[in-house]
Amino acid sequence: MKLALLTKYALKGIRRGGQRVLLAVLAVAFGVMSLVAMAGLSEVLFESLLLDPRQDIGGDARLWRAGYLTAEQVEQFEAWQESGVVERYAVYYSSNSGPLILTTPGSGRVSFVRNAIGFEAGGYPLLGEIVVGDPAGAAATDLLRQPGDVIITKDLAEERGVSVGDTVLVGSEMGGAPEPLQVVGIATNTPNYQGASLFFNLETARLLTGHSNPLTTVNVIWADEASGDTALEELLSSGWYAHTPDMLSERNRQMRDMMNLLLKGAGILGLMVGGIGIANTMQVMLARRREEVGVLKTLGYARRDILLLFVIETAILGLVGSVLGAAAGVGLSAVLVRISQGFVTLFLIWRPNMPLVLGSVAVGVITAVLFAMNAILRASDVRPADVFRQLPPPPQSQIRSIGTFALMAVPFGAITSLVLGSLWQGGVVLLAALAGLIVLGGLLAGIKWLVVRLLPTFGLHLLRMARNNLRRRGVSLVFAMIALFAGTYTLGFAMVSISGTQNKLEEELFSTGGYNFLVLTGPEGVDEAQAALAEIAERTGIRYETPVETFLIDGEPVGVARYLQGRDEPWDIVVEGAAWGSVENGAYVPAGMAVEPGATIEVVMMDGRVVPLTVVGTYEIPSTWESAVIMTAAGIVTSSDTLLAIAGDEVQTSVAAEVAPNQLEAQAEAIGRALPQTAIITAAEMNDSFKAAYQNLGTFAITMSGLALLAGAVLIANAVSLTMIERRHEIGVMKAVGYTRGHVLRTVLFEYGLVAAIASVVGLLAVLLTVYAMGVVQEITREIFLVPPMLAGVIIVVGVGLTLVVALAAAWRPTSIRPVVVLADRG
């Protein structure tokens, strides 16, 4: 009953609390928003990036060999399954070894495919699932009925504007006419959360690879660990390669710990900012209610009643703020996940995490009460007689305050440990935050003290007033300075990183000169492609190519890339030896290879045929070679006639061209329309893809910095508003003697401009120090992370500017108070 009555009393006080209540609610809301957003992002990243290693791999082991698997190699797993060594296994085609591209007919633009899986029904995946979003709920194997059917992941579909029923062209980046496939489904998630993926049946894999049995990979779940280890050892010693969960576990654990600490730690720091805000606000709110407390005690309220009343009031404020903050945090986490998706190819599946939200609301309420406790205890100690005698409150015992905060640190430490899921991480974050507060607080307070002492006023009376006001300000201002420092530091560091990375990126980007335009087509489309390119290109060249099993000389494998390439004319290589095309079945080996002219080199084709060629010369890459879209020649080179005679339908062709760099995009669209069944890759498109990831990362960094600056803004608004409340009488008196609102506002701007300048300059110095330290540890960063004067200026201007705007907004209304109102209050 009493609890209900005190709650009713508390609610009345809150409803009529005005600006102070709003400040308290906003402070808590900010804190909880940070926590929910960071923790939510962290959870999404955990789920996607740090998948259970077994699911990431697709079983207890993922196995592959060089080239395609033979029937005998596959049968071994069947035998092991029968004998109980293997519980389950899946054999499938995976394109991991060769880059694929995807385009839409006539678009002239490509997407790069990370993974293409071809499988039989019931075979793949062993763990996880392909989640089909369109048509919703359909099973992948039910959709992939026909040769040519393909399921593409949502990111590719969005990138290329593709829907179910559309035709896409899929081909190798190495060349060859891309294969038209029909989109029968769009996947919203994959077994290992990887995006940029395609799924199709084995028939389609045959179409794409031209191989009759295009199985490349086996995923295995062992029946037991011991037999699995034995089998794995046997496989590894017989030419198999393997990925196992052990290889990922340690890496994942380290990444998880780091991400946990960084993201959730940032959330907790945001919560602390909110806590500091409410501590400041409650300090002022309750200080103004001394008289009310005196009256309540006079009417018979005991100290514990007052304590309970204010705890209830704070808890209600905390609840309102936490609910608002949680809602904002949910939205913010969705935005952060969306931004993060821009620089990872993984599917980041965002969904509201209700336990996290509810838990954060509880944490917000508890945090509000904990941080307000010092103010509550002080308020409940009010002696009625002192109030009615209008004696000032006794000075706050520093020891008692420190003791109170230390005691409250224990439960708050428990909260941080709970959020981080680790006692030591919670302790680290809390201690680091406290140490930071103490060190930074001391530094900033010291600098403020010095500046206030030494600052010349240039005869400006308002500046003198501002300086005198700053002398009087205490802890709340230092907290605001710390938050502002943190904001300008993170923003400054983000800007330096982005700027430096951008500069480095420009250097690392592909050149758009040289052969910068590539048309992937089959042999039958070469003439048409060349004719189309002749009108727009300075020069063109055709490359023919087929992958081979190996090259042998005297029965021994030769250490060259396993490609047999053909040319009409050697347009991209310089040959030595026999004149081009003068010798039938003549082959040119890389210069420097120790092979005598006239030697026989045997080409072992993928289908097992062995074709002898005669070495007639060598080739080397011209020193002037420049191309972003087509790799330098590799393997063994022969004439196009010889290659076509040997490889026939298995030849991949590509036509390279040099186009004016500023025309790349336009010409790609034009050629794409003219040759709808081809795929086109340009240097500009490759650079765009490269830059996009960095830009998204930059956006993410700026967003995070923005949050830190927002923290600073919240505390500045809090500090200014509280100052205005405390100085209400003073402002009334000033106006009564002739000062205007403008005078008061200018004083406020001088004060907070000074404070912001101190915090921003210290923030900038911290950025410089960090950059210097990085340069000492990693020399290469000295050239990347630079702080030009302009950037330094921007950092200061943003910090000071934001503060002035916030201070002006917070002081605007309070400075409009009429003197008679204020002076009547004190009558």
Partner: protein, 246 residues
């Protein structure tokens, strides 16, 4: 159990306060008795210790030495929680500056003392009755800033008396009011005293108000002044000659 005729019994009360590194003696050995139902005026110049003495009697301050018994309870060294109970049950206090809670309406202000011991089941009804008694039936839902000074003081009186205490302490209750309003408030206090059987101790520096009381005691520099009889009326009646107090 028969009630004692002496409702307040203060013996040798002293109160000292720190000022810098010195101790200032506000009250210097005050002995005082107040009979049940009596209206006592406590007069004296500014700084004489009147409000301090009233604060001790109200139980919102603690004497440095001496003893104080209020309505049969020795409150001298009572723990705060029990003292709060005494304040709630037995004492009503009215201030010069009203000290209403600005965020509550008149009715809510009057209800506040009832929440302490969870006697709030009829809080609304009791508050309305009390406000009607003080003539503010039509102003119940107004907040303090919407009321005149006299009305605010009436609310304060209603609040002080909502728990039907036996003692009403008033510290210059008309100090912030104009003469006419002040007279009305005094008349109200007088009426309520008769109706509710209150014992009233009123601090005032107005001699006219002091003469309206049954008895006057005068404080000067923290002591009760010689020449004015600080004994209750019954004692004076029994022994009319004044004794000189040292």
């Amino acid at each position: 159990m028969a009630q004692s005729s002496t409702v307040i019994f203060a013996r040798n009360l002293t109160r000292s306060l720190p000022l810098g590194d010195r101790q200032i003696d506000i009250l210097k050995g005050v002995t005082l008795e107040v009979e049940r139902g009596e209206w006592l005026a406590l007069t004296g110049p500014s700084g004489s210790g009147k409000s301090t003495l009233l604060g001790l009697l109200a139980g919102i301050d603690t004497p440095t030495s001496g003893s104080l018994i209020v309505d049969g309870i020795d409150i001298t060294r009572l723990p705060e929680s029990k003292l709060a109970r005494v304040r709630n049950d037995k004492i009503g206090i009215v201030f010069q500056s009203f000290h209403l809670i600005p965020t509550l309406t008149a009715r809510e202000n009057v209800e506040v003392p009832l929440y302490v011991n969870a006697r709030a089941g009829r809080a609304r009804q009791l508050a309305e009755e009390m406000l009607t008694l003080v003539g503010l039936h039509d102003r119940m839902n107004h907040r303090p800033h919407q009321l005149s000074g006299g009305e605010q003081q009436r609310v304060a009186i209603a609040r002080a008396l909502i728990n039907r205490p036996s003692i009403l302490l008033a510290d210059e209750p008309t100090g912030n009011l104009d003469t006419r309003t002040g007279d009305a408030v005094l008349e109200l206090i007088g009426n309520l005293r008769r109706e509710l059987g209150l014992t009233v101790v009123m601090v005032t520096h107005d001699p006219l108000i002091a003469r309206a009381a049954d008895r006057e005691v005068h404080l000067l520099d923290g002591r009760l002044v010689d020449g004015l009889d600080s004994r209750p009326a019954s004692a004076r009646a029994a022994q009319p000659v004044l004794e000189v107090r040292s």
